[in-house]
């Protein structure tokens, strides 16, 4: 197939633009550049997702799916998609950064005025959330970047020993 030079150039520019648009959410470029015991980090050291062959997600993305659906789903809807009154976090994370995310989950949020009464609880004392905060962030980050579809990730990496150890430390008991 012969492409004209113009068409090829256009295609190249389009591809570069696509890459540029895909590589940024509220915390920056989500590309995983470092790995520690099955947990991935971007160039700024912020936790991120890693999707492998055949859509296999890293453990923390998978764990985040489960923990999100345990404690966040009841207000924020399935798969970070939002409900009739709480925002779709897959959209929120397009502009919300990691630090702010941690602060909101730990401290809660109030939007109370004459038009609405939206209150998010502070989860700071809830081990079931705080011990998996990075997992939930990584999962939502993956959703925000369309790296994982809706629903339970079909394939995931094995649970690293480091993840179990972190749970035990966090809960203060054998988990």
């Amino acid at each position: 197939m012969r492409l004209s030079l113009g068409a090829a150039a256009y295609a190249l520019v389009a591809m570069v633009c696509w890459i540029a648009v895909a590589a940024a959410d509220g915390s920056g470029d989500p590309t995983a550049v470092k790995q520690e015991d099955g947990k991935y980090f971007d160039k700024d050291g912020i936790p991120t997702y890693k999707i492998g062959a055949e859509g296999t997600v890293d453990w923390y993305t998978y764990s985040g799916f489960r923990r999100y659906h345990s404690d966040c789903h009841v207000c924020h809807g399935p798969d970070g998609m939002g409900s009739s009154y709480a925002p779709a976090l897959k959209d929120s994370l397009a502009t919300l950064n990691y630090g702010d995310f941690l602060g909101i989950v730990a401290g809660g949020r109030k939007n109370v005025n004459t038009a609405q009464e939206n209150v998010m609880p502070a989860f700071g004392t809830n081990d079931n959330v705080m011990c998996y905060l990075d997992d939930i962030f990584v999962y939502l980050r993956a959703r925000a970047n369309d790296a994982v579809r809706r629903g339970r990730p079909e394939k995931h990496a094995e649970k690293p020993a480091a993840a179990s150890a972190a749970e035990d430390t966090c809960f203060g008991t054998k988990h």
Binding site: G55, F65, R66, H69, S70, D71, H73, V74, C75, G77, P78, D79, M81, G82, S83, S84, Y85, A86, A88, G108, K110, V112, A115, Q116, E117, N118, V119, M120, P121, F123, T125, N126, D127, N128, R149, R150, G151, R152, E154, F171, H175
Partner: protein
């Protein structure tokens, strides 16, 4: 002759005594016999949601029109329905739980409003939207159960607070969503918090001054759950000592759930109040071995003392969050040639139960949605050791933590949630708003912190395999346990139904349609799109010689959470296109009462 005389006078004395204790000063029963009014949440104590009004009938309902409307000023899920007493309509709202008294003689002009000041920090402790299921009336007072668990009595004429009591503690995850229930000189009220590890209860308060008279927990020691080990029966047998605590491990019952956020019914002749309890805490079954009594249970209690006459647990050791709180509908029907006093209950678990409401005998337990698969049925053999227990299909048990159990029907929201069914004595059919949704369910270990969610499971929901409708509105024969007709709906039917003597049955859809169907055939006769999805209960009243139909619109509740973004099929494999319809494509938030009538 002498013998007959003695027998007659004894009967007369007994009848007089019964009438005296049950009916003395009970103006509310008399008021509920006036079909023009709607004086309690289900109009009458039997919870049939049936109106004798028949100005609107199958021949003319097609001409129904919106007559007037009222915006509540609140944009969250609007459950329940207004009350109408004489020329005044009483409308309630979701949090902040405002109450309006509207003058029907003057186009709904606001006579008074009550606007409680509640700490907004109660909002995040409400698991499933900030709904409220409505008001009750008694002795010149309107009763409201606020989100922060305050039970308040308002002067029906002025809206002034007569008394106010705190029924629970939101800092421990306890909240209020249910409608209070007035019986004789008491106001009964439940409590919410099954997802927050609350040891739930029903409490009775003196109607005059709000002093608490009794409190019956759903689980705990005998003196807390108000059962008599020898006199309280379960399917005819005494429950025995420690019937609840011996079905829990250690102290787990103290954070046991069994919450009482649903509807109540009352039989004045038997003097029994009926209600159901919700799921045990947590959603992770392996953290609470045992049958977890008396969660998921139908209670029949004496309203004066709270003592239970009989109990029946529908889902022992729940593994799916099938709360047992749905309405108890009382009917008098003939089964096998015998006239019986019945109680019919469409449980979250997908089974339609018919019991003898006097003795608690189980007569029927059949699936009211063919898709139900977690159980192969209830053991109806009175001589069996498992009599009354549902047989769990191993494939759909969720007993293993950290395992994703797939394809369970119904989903946790059940074949029906709190949205109440109706009964027509004309057709002897029940009209049931149902959900048609299945789920994957994965439990895992969680720790308890007071005031924080205590859930412990992940779930994803989708319609049954090969189907795309997420709901059906059905007609059900409770004597035989059979579906008579079924109208499919795109979304779960989440509104309360209304049956009328005009042969018309009404319900609302999540897209916002108020619909009228023929009670005999289910044929759609009328529909109108209200401003927002309907999760309220349709009601009817008469004013100035005209019959009106009224329903609250305002999408929310669990439907607004689980269905807003649409469902996807997790087993469709890579490359599946889209999912099922998203409710957010049909409706946004709203808060409105729409009232319908025939044209002049």
């Amino acid at each position: 002759m002498r013998y007959l005389l003695l027998k007659f006078s004894t009967f007369g004395a007994v009848a007089a005594f019964a009438a005296g204790s049950a009916y003395a000063n009970d103006a509310l029963i008399k008021m509920s016999e006036n079909p023009k009014d709607w004086v309690m949440p289900a109009r009458t104590y039997d919870a049939q949601r049936y109106s004798p009004l028949k100005q609107i009938n199958t021949a003319n309902v097609g001409k129904l029109q919106a007559a007037w409307s009222f915006s509540t000023g609140v944009l969250r899920g609007h459950e329940g329905a207004p009350l109408v007493i004489g020329n005044v309509m009483y409308v309630h709202t979701p949090f902040p739980n405002n109450v309006f008294a509207l003058d029907l003689d003057h186009d709904g002009k606001i006579l008074w409003k009550y606007e409680p000041k509640q700490d907004p920090n109660v909002i995040p402790v409400m698991c499933c939207d900030t709904v409220n299921r409505g008001l009750s009336y008694g002795d010149g007072k309107i009763f409201l159960h606020q989100a922060d668990t305050t039970l308040v009595a308002l002067d029906a004429k002025t809206g002034q607070v007569v008394w106010s009591v705190k029924n629970g503690d939101p800092s421990k995850g306890q909240t209020g969503t249910s409608a209070p229930f007035v019986i004789k000189d008491k106001v009964l009220v439940g409590i919410s918090g099954g997802e927050f590890g609350v040891q739930c209860h029903v409490s009775a308060y003196d109607m005059k001054d709000g002093k608490r008279v009794w409190r019956a927990f759903s689980e705990g020691p005998d003196n807390e759950i108000l059962v008599d080990p020898e006199k309280t029966t379960d399917l005819g047998k005494p429950v025995g000592k420690d019937s609840s605590v011996r079905t829990w491990e250690g102290d787990q019952w103290k954070i046991g759930g069994g919450c009482t956020w649903g509807w109540m019914a009352y039989d004045p002749q038997l003097n029994l109040v009926y209600y159901g309890s919700g799921n045990p805490s947590t959603w992770n079954p392996s953290q609470r071995p045992g049958d977890n009594r008396w969660s998921m249970t139908i209670f029949a209690r004496n309203p004066d003392t709270g003592m239970a006459k009989w109990v029946y647990q529908m889902t022992p050791h729940d593994e799916w969050d099938y709360d047992g709180i749905n309405e108890m509908i009382l009917t008098d029907q003939t089964i096998d040639g015998r006239a019986r006093k019945l109680l019919t209950h469409f449980d979250r678990n997908g089974l339609g139960y018919t019991l003898d409401r006097d003795t608690g005998e189980l007569l029927v337990a059949q699936k009211y949605d063919p898709a139900v698969n977690w159980t192969s049925g209830v053991d109806m053999n009175k001589n069996s050791a498992n009599y009354g227990r549902p047989t769990v299909v191993a494939e759909y048990s969720t007993s293993k933590p950290d395992v994703n159990h797939t394809g369970i029907c119904p989903a946790a929201l059940g074949s029906k949630d709190e949205q109440p069914a109706a009964y027509s004595p004309d057709t002897q059919l029940f009209y049931v708003p149902t959900n048609h949704v299945c789920m994957d369910y994965e439990p895992f270990k969680v720790s308890y912190t007071a005031g924080q969610p205590y859930v412990g499971a992940t779930l994803s929901m989708y319609p049954p395999k090969g189907e795309s409708n997420m709901g059906n509105f059905i007609a059900w024969d409770g004597k035989t346990g059979k579906i008579v007709w079924s109208d499919p709906e795109q979304f779960s039917v989440w509104s309360g139904a209304l049956a009328t003597a005009g042969g018309v049955v009404f319900y609302g859809t999540l897209e916002g349609y108020l619909k009228a169907v023929d009670a005999k055939t289910g044929k759609e006769l009328y529909k109108f799109k209200t401003p927002s999805g309907i999760i309220g209960n349709v009601m009817t009243y008469e004013h100035g010689g005209k019959q009106y139909i009224a329903v609250l619109s305002g999408v929310g509740g669990w439907a607004g959470i689980g269905l807003a973004a649409g469902l996807t099929d997790p087993h469709a494999g890579l490359g599946a296109v889209g999912g099922y319809a998203a409710l957010s494509n049909y409706t946004s938030l709203g808060g409105q009462l729409t009232v319908f009538a025939l044209p002049e």
